[in-house]
């Protein structure tokens, strides 16, 4: 029935989690070992997930009944095309962790490294679990692993303000998780089941009703908070800006996508059950996405702090994704799904490059960082590539997404949104051009900037690698499509097409 790699499914989740539990013990004598340990664990996990993806490509989606129980009886793990997202996710972790080895030198004393890396591993494991679980309550528990570790990761970098940002994130995140639990409980009460496919089936039998809709609304709000959509984005900028840069890369690139993936899962349930009126929700998503794009960009323009700027641009980019989902035409959904990958990649590039610059110079505002390209040419080049990429200029990774989503807008007869998308990107470029001007074309104002040296290779390597991936995925934009297209085709029947 299934190939040998299917057996690896639960282990791919458990490995980073157990690795995290072992981290303090492994690193008890030499705390710095924890960094290498975390990297090793993630490498093995990457191999496992690559195996899973190969299984998916070879034989299509597969399930795993945990404890030997059949799907709706026990907990089911399901590896479908949307779950395939875990592979790039883990690979990004593999790239980010080496960056953190040296970066942490100025963030925390050695003895706090083991719990830090434990948190990173927990975050990775939680996200893998989140993507592959087929059980609603299990989804909640994984959400909590991801969220809890994210709250803490925000706060590890500093005192006071960092703790405050983390606490704000925690309160908002906890409420959104509670809404999710509430919705899960309601669906459970309605259907008597927690398995997603089963719930969808039974909801179809029940055929809607207020409670079903309220549960949907609760899920939607919950995942909107997790994805930092515009009106409920308030937790994001401070948290992402204040966290250590590798953490910002993880949070901005990946953790916010939990909201997107979760939304897709819930859509699968509801549209599978055919209990939702599509048009109104899609229209709401389109508008919310458009507003997020504009407001994110608008706030970003006024930031001087480079990381705060990047954090606001995340809101903008999540707007792209949601806009694409809301347009609900094949091209748009493909674009949105590809942007889930590509934005993670681009944002990781930008945050790591920004982190390198902050690490080497000690400054983090544009006005302080003038002329840094002279002393850190490679990092600045990576930053420039990331900037061009996130604006969506060809031939970079961001362009592919913009292309598809805008095409989808025409396809969905929503041409104004297509134009809005194409020109909204320019709005974003305003602040990146400010950044590039400051880095490249203005003389340094600080000695530490003028005398900064390039980062050590353990930091520069990941940055350069990610930046080149931004370019490669631009000219070879078809690569993520191989995963995304079948997934979208899976979903589109539910999507009203």
């Amino acid at each position: 029935m299934t190939g040998p790699w299917a057996e690896a499914l639960p282990w791919a989740i458990v490995l980073p989690l157990v690795g995290a539990a072992l981290t303090p013990a492994v690193a008890v004598r030499h705390p710095r070992v924890s960094g290498f340990w975390a990297w090793g664990v993630l490498l093995v996990t990457a191999v496992l997930t690559a195996g899973l993806v190969s299984e998916l490509v070879a034989r299509g989606p597969f399930s795993y009944g945990l404890g030997g129980w059949a799907a709706s009886y026990g907990i089911e793990l399901r590896f479908d095309h949307f779950s395939a997202w875990v592979l790039p996710l883990v690979v990004l972790f593999v790239v980010i962790v080496p960056f953190s080895w040296r970066y942490l030198d100025h963030v925390m004393p050695d003895e706090r490294r083991p719990p830090f890396y434990a948190l990173l591993l927990l975050n990775a494991g939680g996200m893998i679990g989140f993507c592959v679980t087929g059980d609603l309550f299990n989804l909640f528990v994984f959400t909590e692993v991801v969220s809890l570790s994210s709250y803490a990761l925000v706060a590890v970098g500093g005192r006071g303000l960092a703790a405050f940002a983390a606490l704000k994130y925690l309160f908002i995140g906890a409420v959104s998780s509670l809404l999710m639990l509430f919705a899960t409980a309601q669906l459970f009460v309605l259907s008597g089941s927690l398995n997603m496919a089963d719930v969808s089936l039974r909801l179809g039998e029940i055929g809607g009703g207020t409670a079903v809709m309220v549960a949907f609304a609760a899920y939607a709000v919950s995942f909107m908070v997790k994805a930092a959509m515009f009106p409920v984005h308030v937790w994001l900028p401070d948290a992402h800006a204040i966290a250590p840069s590798p953490v910002s890369a993880v949070l901005s690139g990946m953790v916010v996508k939990v909201g997107i993936v979760g939304m897709l899962r819930i859509y699968q349930i509801y549209f599978g059950a055919e209990v939702l009126e599509l048009g109104a929700f899609n229209l709401a998503l389109v508008w919310l996405g458009a507003i997020s794009i504009v407001m994110g960009a608008f706030f970003a323009i006024f930031q001087d702090d480079i990381k705060l700027m990047l954090a606001y641009s995340t809101i903008s980019n999540i707007g792209y994704i949601v806009l694409g989902l809301g347009l609900a035409s094949p091209y748009a959904v493909i674009g949105a799904a590809v942007h889930v990958f590509n934005h993670a990649l681009i944002k990781a590039t930008l945050f790591l490059a920004a982190g390198s610059i902050i690490h080497q110079t000690g400054f983090r505002t544009l006005s302080d960082l003038r002329g840094v390209a002279r002393t850190m040419p490679q990092t600045s080049a990576a930053m420039a590539i990331g900037a061009v990429s996130i604006v969506g200029l060809p031939p970079t990774a961001g362009f592919v997404c913009k292309w598809y989503i805008a095409l989808g807008a025409f396809e969905a007869n929503q041409a104004p949104f297509g134009f809005a998308l194409v020109f909204g990107a320019l709005f974003i470029f305003i602040y990146y051009i400010r950044m590039l001007n400051a880095f490249y074309f203005q003389p340094p104002v600080h000695a530490s900037v003028a005398q900064a040296s390039e980062t050590p290779w353990s930091m520069r390597g990941p940055v350069v690698l990610l930046a080149s991936l931004c370019l490669i995925l631009g000219v070879l934009g078809g690569i993520p499509l191989t995963f995304v297209e079948p997934a979208v085709l899976d979903l589109l029947p539910f999507w009203g097409q």
């Binding site: 989690l17 009886y73 907990i75 706060a155 005192r159 009460v189 000690g362």
Partner: protein, 271 residues
């Protein structure tokens, strides 16, 4: 602030009430919650899992994976608390400047109230551990009576926890409850004896292993189950002895690991 809060609460309340109003009545025996999987568990649970307490059966067997992730969550909380900067530890050199200009957060850089001044007001006995006398927690004004009673009762409370742990398969109780009680014993002892003496109850070398013991035990049992039944975290249905052994390993690990984690969180928080 308040009117807006009330408005928000109302906005949230209305759909929630509307939602729960249309749910099936909660104690009707024919509600879906009692007729679907739940009914099957009640029907076959004892035969399939060998546990008379079906809550434990669901917890450890049918939905054992949830419990696995759950122990991971408390481990996450511990890792989180451990990873936070310590109050008295000096910051490493060249700490990155904090971001400026994000609206709702007070802006950095300007001199802030001195932590020491803050601490003397004392929320939760906030004194650094270095200053603390190792032998007696003289800073905690504990009456001799309380100290005596806690010390007297501690072994019995611990015994009760053990009883809860081992009777968990037939009565309400089990690993998590035992963990909570264990942790309570620790914390009570820490309060009356001083944290160092309480901490000494767990040897230093064991701590990194003990705090992760619950996830590790789960992974081990999951692996054993995989070898035995071919399914991750699978229990051999027809061999009740093995089932029970696996269950006990998990329960004990949850109790010990959970207790250690909870106690450690308490100790770490005393910055």
């Amino acid at each position: 602030m308040r009117p807006w809060s009330l408005l928000l609460v109302l906005l949230v309340a209305l759909p929630l009430v509307a939602g729960v109003a249309t749910l099936p009545p909660h104690d009707a025996p024919d509600a879906p919650i009692h007729t679907q999987v739940g009914a099957l568990y009640l029907e076959r649970g004892v035969a399939e899992t060998g546990m008379k307490n079906l809550v434990t059966a669901v917890l450890l067997n049918y939905r054992g994976f949830d419990t696995f992730i759950e122990v991971v969550v408390i481990f996450t909380a511990l890792a989180a608390v451990l990873a936070l900067p310590k109050g008295s530890a000096p910051l490493p050199k060249g700490n990155a400047p904090l971001p400026k200009g994000s609206a709702p957060v007070p802006k950095g850089n300007a001199p802030l109230p001195q932590p020491d001044a803050a601490r003397s007001q004392g929320v939760g006995g906030a004194r650094s551990r270095e200053e603390e006398a190792p032998e007696v927690a003289s800073d905690v004004p504990v009456s001799p009576v309380v100290r005596f009673v806690v010390r007297l009762l501690a072994p019995f409370i611990a015994m009760f926890a053990v009883a809860m742990l081992f009777r968990g398969h037939i009565t309400p109780g089990g690993g998590f409850q035992a963990a909570a009680v264990f942790a309570a014993v620790f914390i009570a002892l820490g309060l009356v004896l001083g944290q160092d003496r309480a901490a000494r109850l767990v040897p230093v070398d064991w701590r990194p292993w003990l705090q992760g013991v619950a996830p590790l035990a789960f992974a081990l049992v999951a692996w054993i189950g995989w070898r035995l039944t071919g399914a991750f975290l699978g229990y051999p249905i027809d061999d009740h002895t093995v089932q029970e052994a696996m269950g006990f390993v998990l329960e004990i690990a949850i109790a010990v690991g959970g207790g250690v984690v909870l106690a450690r969180i308490f100790l770490e928080m005393e910055t």
